[in-house]
Amino acid sequence: MTKRTLFAGLLATGGVLVAGLAQAQDIINDELVINGDLNIVTQAPAADHLDYMSVVRSGWTFRSTETQAMQMDDFDNPGMLGVESAMSDFTTAMGADGESCASCHDGPESLSNVRATYPQWDEEHGEVQTVEMQVNECITERMGAEPWGYNSTEMINMSGLISWAGRGEIVDIAIDGPAQETWQMGKDLYYTRTGQLELSCANCHEDNYDNYIRADHLSMGMLTGFPTYRLKDARLVSVHSRFRGCIRDTRAETYAVGSPEFVALELYVMSRGNGLSVEGPAVRN
């Protein structure tokens, strides 16, 4: 950290800064350019369906300059190892028919619109599907192979590859039509105060973003960076694992990874990021 940013950080937090308090906050940097040429929208006007926010911000804008820097170059982004591993799975034949993802999809680039539009309604199955559900649909129904675990390493890596292929795309989640009911369920979950601490997602990520809770600088809880590489865990973390962690922290009983509740919550939370760019695999602390 340079002297200049440290000084600005001290000014920004003003009077509350006392030794031993939440560490000096870096000035908010909203210019994320990856590999020197890929522009990421990290701040955007909030979607009309958001009642209490006027602007939405990527989780990247809340991280320290050191963590931010790791996401600005793929060589420094440890999440890229998972993406590379999924790249080889993409062309590996699986199941009885000897097909790989590449048999149907030219390359990951051909899936660049996926992350920005999922979860989305699947007409054939009559339900909202996440990226993971769609991947398993291909694996089982088109390739005749055994499904991957929803939270398995292969699945998280493949979801990382799909995010990477869609980086820079503007999130545009459909919340009306047949998805509306699931979206509403997700919204209700977002505002429900659970557990013995009686905290909702909104209490932390809507009422208190930019505030510190203990050592954590609260973001708006966006999904645009998922799967995220968490430095604390030293691995890529899925959306549903993150949900479990946050709900557990309210001293509540969580829902299961892949459960209908989490699919609904993912649809809703992803739609809160409409207008921001996909930026996964992101780096977070």
Partner: protein
Amino acid sequence: MKIKHTFAVAAIVLAAPVLAETVSPAAVVFDEYGEVAQSLTGVAGNPERGVEVMTNRGLGNCIACHMVTDLQDHPFHGEVGPSLDGVATRWSPEQLRGIMVNAKNTFPDSIMPAFYHVGPYIRPGDAFTGKAADGELPPLLSAQDIEDVIAYLMTLDTYYD
């Protein structure tokens, strides 16, 4: 198993004189402003022990949300709630007791958890395991913890700038 059981009984017998005066969470009486006039234990609070409750993550973890200059030796104070500097000049012990027992009676819809309360909760969990709670949960803090914290908060009579 047997031995453990005997110990538990012994503990209850020893604690009996205090328990007799302890107000249970369900029996706490609030006035219309959310104040609680009666001590929860009848035993004077210990401010040093109050510091422990306020800073320990497994107890009150108050500094996760509140900044307290006097506690700056303990790292990582949050900003979700107001600074508690000078809190003794703003609130009486009765009001502080009410805020800690269940802040929602003083500040409707408060984000601050209710520390001497037993629900009902939505999807109560077994502490931080993410698993369902097994039966009714004990309050987050004990009656004496609350009294100890009040004793400490009443020492915070200084504003810093």
